[in-house]
Each structure stands twice: as C-alpha cells, then as structure tokens.
C-alpha cells in the first residue's frame, strides 16, 4: 500500500515540477521582450517591414515608398531614409545615431499626424523591426549611442513657468514657434529641412503637433538633442542648467494648458 502511495506521490511531484517548469518558462519567455540581435531576428524584422513599412519607407528603406509623395507632397516631414543614418526622434546627442530604445519608441508611438502607432505589433516584433532598420545603415555596427541623462524634473509652478517663459525668449524659440508658441514666428515661413522641403514649426499650443512626443521627458529630450535634419537645433551647449530646461518644458506645456 505504502509503495502505491509512494508511487503516487512521486508521480504527483513530477507532474508538479513539470507544470511549474512550464509556467516559469512561460513567464520567463514573456519577460524576454528584447530578443537577441541576430540574423534570424533581422530577417523576421524584414518580413514585418515588407508588410507594414514598405508603403512609405520604400522597398530598401530609402524613404521612397509609393505613399511618400501622397503623404505630404513637397512638404516635410518625409518618411525617413534609413540608409542615410539621419534620425530625428532620439535621445542621443545630435551627431550620434539613435539608441535602440529610440527606434522602438517611434515604432510604438508612431509620429502624430504622419505615422501610425505600431503598438499592435507585439514587443518582440517591434524589436525585430528595430534590428532590420539598423541593418540598413552600416554605421550602426560600430555605434555606441548613449541616451542623454534627463535628470530630475522640476515640478511645474508659476515660478517655473515664468522662468521658462524668459528662457523661451532668450533662446530665440519665438523666432520659429512664435511669441505664443503657435508656430507662427517671423522665420516660420522660410524654414526648410535637410531635403529642401518646406517645414512648419510645431504649434506648441497643440500637443499632438509635437512629433517627438508631448510628455515632459519627450520635450526635454527634444530641446537637448534637437531634431536632426530640421531647423530645430540642439540646445545642449546653450542652456546653463538642466533645471532651466525643465522650466522651459513647464512653460511649453503651459501653452497648451497642460502643465
């Protein structure tokens, strides 16, 4: 009898171990959201690209897909040319390539107005897409992009917004974005991007016109890194302190009533 009990106990134990192993494996695999960058994942990324990105970015990623001209005509923004290595939305300094997380973020969020969010792809697919896009520009092979430090945000207050307003003028932001941030500064009409397409400054009173994101961190990042290929410069060497930038962020958010 006891032998039978022992056999049952062993069988149950084995079953529990197998079950737990399965559960833990499943949990572990679910947590591995960033797959390894290898040829297999690059190929998987290409397959996704051919179904989703080819229409705007073109067959080989040169930004010359069949929808590119319909999208904005002879205006900016145009779909990115991934073979040129010039990226607009990133957390690294101007001269650097974007970090993987930057590409992942843009794929996930899209670009308001012009590129849909691809949050419908599971994270693994988005990472595969990142790897394929990186494979289109050889510079990524040796690059070691470092995201900038954001520091500690300054809480929004009347004082902070007021200081930010002064910085807004001191840095000359109103030249393009206008005194009220409506994108109607005196230079606005004559701006062009690096492809000589006319470009319109962001209307800071409408957060969905901020293509690089409208969160506090997004705006901070945009000010510090600039937007490559556009007239928006990096102010990393211009501002005196990170707190100044956070004040400026608070001022910009106040323009849309969302501080």
């Amino acid at each position: 009898m006891s032998r039978i009990v022992n056999v049952i106990i062993r069988a149950v134990s084995v079953a529990v171990i197998v079950l737990m192993t399965g559960i833990l494996t499943t949990i572990a695999s679910a947590q591995v959201v960033k797959p390894e960058q290898n040829a297999e994942n690059v190929a998987a990324g290409k397959a996704i690209y051919d179904r989703t990105c080819v229409f705007c970015h073109g067959a080989v990623g040169k930004g010359n897909g069949p929808v590119a001209y319909f999208l904005t005509g002879n205006m900016s923004p145009r779909p990115r040319d991934f073979t040129a290595g010039v990226y607009r939305f990133k957390s690294t300094l101007s001269e650097e390539l974007p970090a993987d997380g930057d590409l992942f973020r843009t794929i996930t969020r899209g670009v308001p107005g012009f590129m849909p969010t691809y949050s419908g792809l599971v994270p693994q697919q988005r990472w595969q897409l990142v790897y394929y896009i990186k494979s289109l520009f050889p510079g990524f092979a040796t690059a070691e992009p470092k995201p900038i430090e954001l520091g500690t945000p300054v809480a929004s207050s009347m004082a902070s917004v007021s200081r930010g307003g002064i910085i807004f003028e001191d840095l000359g932001c109103s030249g393009c974005h206008g005194a009220n941030g409506m994108g109607d500064g005196e230079l606005a009409e004559d701006l062009e991007d690096d492809l000589s397409f006319k470009i319109v400054p962001a209307n800071l009173t409408m957060l969905n016109s901020l293509k690089n994101g409208s969160g506090k961190g997004d705006i901070y990042r945009t000010i510090m890194t600039g937007i490559n290929g556009t007239p928006m410069p990096s102010f990393e060497d211009t501002v005196e302190s990170k707190d100044d930038v956070w004040d400026l962020v608070n001022f910009i958010l106040s323009l849309s009533g969302s501080r």
């Binding site: 989703t52 229409f55 897909g65 069949p66 012009f114 849909p116």
Partner: protein, 482 residues
C-alpha cells in the same frame, strides 16, 4: 449651339466664382480629421491619395479590417479597456463615426430639350448627398462597417440603407483568410473599385417601370461598370413581379454598389497576391431568389521607387439574371427608346427568354509620386437559347472601358480626367454605344474638404435616341467628410 455654349460658359463662370470665393474665405490651417484619422492621430493622406480614394497603404488598412497593416491592433489602439485585461473595449464615438456631405450646382445641356423632361436649367442641390458612416474595430480582428445615405439625386430619393458588414480578419494566420459578411461592394478590392470616385457618379433620371425605360437623362459614371445591355428586364419584389427595365447604364453584378452575401479574401502566399471569392444574393429574372458567385485575383507591386502598381482580374456569374424583352414583334422596332419611341408597354408581355449574365474583366492601377492612373476593361456576355432568326436581333456581347487619371499637383489642387467607352449589346435595334470625356479640378481647403469644378462631354454624335441626348454637363460643388 451658341445658346448651349453660353449656358456652359455661364456654368463654368458660376463655378469658378464659387470656388474662388470659398478659396479666399476658407482658412487653410484647419486640422479637421475624419474618424479613422481621429482615432490614429493621422492626416487623411496616410490612407488616401486624396479623399475618398485609397492609396496602397489605405488599401491594406481596409483589407486588414481597419487595422494597421501587418498588425492585429483592433482591440487595443486608442480605446478604453473595460473590465480588466480581457474586458470589452470602448472608444469615442467620434473614432467610429464620420459624415460625408456633397452638394453642387449642376447644369445639363441637351441636344434636344423638348425630348426630355429633365430640367436643363442651372440647379442648386444642397445638400445633395449625405452619407453617415459607422466603422471600426469591435475587437481584435473583428470590424464593422455601416453606411446610410440620403441622396436627393436618386428617383427613389430620401434616406436609404447602403452597406453594412462585418469582417473577421486574419483567420488563417496573418493575412491568409478574411471573411466579410453582410452588404458590401464586391469590387472594393479591384484595381478600379466601384466606390471611392474622385468624380462622384451622377444618377440617372429615368422611369424603369415600363418597357422600354423612359430615359430623360443618362447617369454619369464609369461606363465600364454599366450593365451595357439594352432590352433587358427583371422581375423584382419592388416591382410587384410586373418586371422593370434594366437601365443599360446601371452599375451591376461585380460593380453593384451593394450586394448581400459573403466574401472570402486574403494573401496566403505572401504580400503580392490577393485572392477574393464571393457569393451574393441575387434576384432572378423570374423574381425568385438565387446566388451569384465571383472570384478575383489581384497582384500588387509596391516596391518601386515612389511608385506602385497592381493588376487584377475577375469573373462574375449571374445565372438567370435577366429577361430578354422584345418590342412587341421582333422585326418592327424603331431605333430609339423611351420618349422617342412612343407608347411604352409592359416588359412582362414581351419577354422571350431568360438569360444568364457573365461579367469578366481586368483592371490596373499605377501610382507614381502624386499621379494615380487606373482603368478597367470589363466584358459582359448573355447566354440564352433562342431560335436562330430571333437570335440575330440580339448582340450577346458588350464591353466597357474606363480610364482615369488623378494628379495631385499640390497639397491643395488635384486635377482629374476620365475617358469612358461603352460598346453596348442587347437588342440590336435599341443598342447605342456611348463615350464620354470628363475633366475636373478639385481644390482641397483642408485634406477633408474639397471644392470641385467638373465638366462631362459626350463624344458621340447626336441622334434621336434619349441615351445620346445629353450633350454635356457642368458641375461645381463641395465634397467634405468629417
């Protein structure tokens, strides 16, 4: 002729003034966006060459059940989740609902004004056509579409139910099998879809209760879609079984604006080929119910530098689709029809055979930068059994060609032209070929509001047939969606 020329000129001047005035008075910085654009925070031109035509990305969005191509995002994107991670999703009504308004000023010119009851004066149709849409994703891979239309142009005017369907997407892996059920446009995936015209169709003015039909003004639409056969009638529930004449210009079978049934489509062999098969409810010539069936195959090439193209071919079969109807005695017919023919008779009195109808055709489309060129060549065939002597009075084959080009010269301006040619079939004594040239200039004050000026010109010489009586038409109007 001089009078006609003056009238046409007046129409053009009036339209130009209207467009000019609205152009000056309308602000150009509006960011108004229709439902899907609102939902995804995108401008209309992500999916449209210009509203309402879809670009190659928009076509895939449609195919994928209103989900971003390559994804299955229906349940999550921009929606609230109720009741936990597996709960129901709910989005804002404005993310599902859209309204399209069309209104215009029309001027029709006739060769013989006395031969038609159609109003040849300048007339203002405001609002002319209003469509209300509800469309979106109910859950992951389940989408819906509903459209109702108020159309003051149609004879039966008023509010009509147009299309409503459910789509179940990605049933056999990504892209492999999708199922659409309900009322839909069978040709929506064809290279030249029946709907989404840059030059909106203008309906006919005709009475089809008697035979031959009394045509006061033919419709203006892509003639490749037309039924093309003269001398056909059909029993229908709405005609009380008495039978009604089928207008040779009526868009039909594969190109019917709406058909009830089911269609399966997908891309099981990669991104290049799209298949579609379908079964749709149909009223037989006898008034009984039956089913038509069809198949379509499309090849897409989207890897060009700023260009993409597709070609497609379809086959559509409609058994016992129409009655061949003679004008009393087979040999005694005049050359015209309708008001020019004198007294009309019941079609049911002169039905001589039930015919199967087959439609097949090819279509092609090329986009280059902001140029959108497309066309369709569609053949129609009647199959029936008649004595040889009578059969000689019928032409069993017809064809239609429509070629269109749209060029978005700037973000604001689009110029369009279309050539239509119909080689008519059916009762030889009645059949009349038709060909038209249409040109249009469209000005987009915003991506979703367009003002247009359009001219239609009949390329056929005039005779005593009502189908040749319309010489030209000038329309100036507005087409907006929000």
């Amino acid at each position: 002729m001089t009078r006609l020329f003056r009238a046409t000129r007046r129409g053009i001047v009036l339209g130009a003034l209207l467009i000019g005035a609205i152009t000056v008075l309308t602000p150009v910085e509006s960011q108004a966006l229709p439902a899907f654009a609102r939902k995804y925070d995108m401008t209309c031109s992500v999916c449209h060459t210009r509203m309402p035509r879809l670009n190659f990305f928009g076509q895939r969005f449609l195919e994928n059940g209103y989900q971003i191509p390559g994804t299955m995002d229906g349940a999550s994107v921009k929606k609230k989740l109720l009741g936990g991670s597996n709960g129901a999703t709910l989005g804002k009504v404005s993310n599902y609902m859209a309204v399209r308004l069309r209104a215009d000023v029309e001027r029709f010119g006739f060769n013989d004004k006395d031969a038609t009851e159609s109003d040849d004066k300048v007339r203002i149709q405001t609002p002319d056509v209003i469509n209300i849409f509800f469309a979106g994703t109910a859950a992951k891979n389940i989408s819906f579409f509903f459209e109702t239309e108020y159309n003051s142009r149609e004879d039966f005017g008023g509010i009509a139910f147009e299309r409503a369907n459910l789509v179940f997407s990605n049933l056999a892996g990504s892209q492999g099998l999708n199922v659409k059920i309900g009322n839909f446009d069978p040709a929506s995936f064809f290279s030249f879809p029946t709907h989404r015209q840059q030059m909106n169709p203008v309906g006919p003015e005709a009475e089809t209760g008697d035979f031959p039909p009394d045509i006061n003004r033919i419709p203006l639409l892509p003639l490749a879609f037309s039924s093309k056969f003269f001398g056909l009638t059909r029993a229908a529930s709405r005609a009380g079984g008495e039978g009604f004449a089928i207008l040779p210009f009526e868009p039909t079978s594969f190109n019917a604006p709406s058909a009830r049934g089911a269609t399966l489509y997908g891309r099981p062999f990669g991104n290049d080929f799209l298949y579609q098969v379908g079964l749709v409810d149909s009223t037989r010539a006898t008034g009984e119910r039956g089913y038509d069936y069809y198949a379509m195959l499309r090849y897409d090439y989207v890897r060009g530098e700023y260009w993409a193209a597709n070609v497609s071919a379809f086959y559509y079969r409609s058994p016992e689709s129409a009655n061949l109807t003679s004008m009393g005695s087979m040999g005694g017919m005049g050359s015209g029809m309708g008001s020019s023919m004198g007294g009309a008779s019941s079609g049911a009195d002169n039905q001589i055979a039930v015919a199967d109808m087959t439609r097949y055709g090819i279509g092609a489309r090329v986009n280059y930068k902001t140029l959108d060129i497309f066309g369709a060549l569609i053949f129609d065939k009647l199959d029936y059994t008649l004595p040889a002597m009578s059969a000689s009075a019928w032409d069993n084959d017809a064809s239609g060609l429509s070629l269109e080009a749209n060029w978005a010269a700037t973000q604001k301006w689009m110029f369009s032209t279309r050539y239509d040619k119909m080689d008519a079939g059916g009762l030889v004594a009645m059949a009349k070929n038709s060909s038209w040239l249409t040109v249009q200039a469209k000005y987009y004050t915003t991506p979703n509001i367009a003002l247009y000026l359009r001219g239609h010109n009949n390329l056929e010489s005039a005779d005593d047939s009502p189908v040749r009586n319309l010489r030209n038409a000038v329309l100036a109007g507005v087409d907006m969606a929000f």
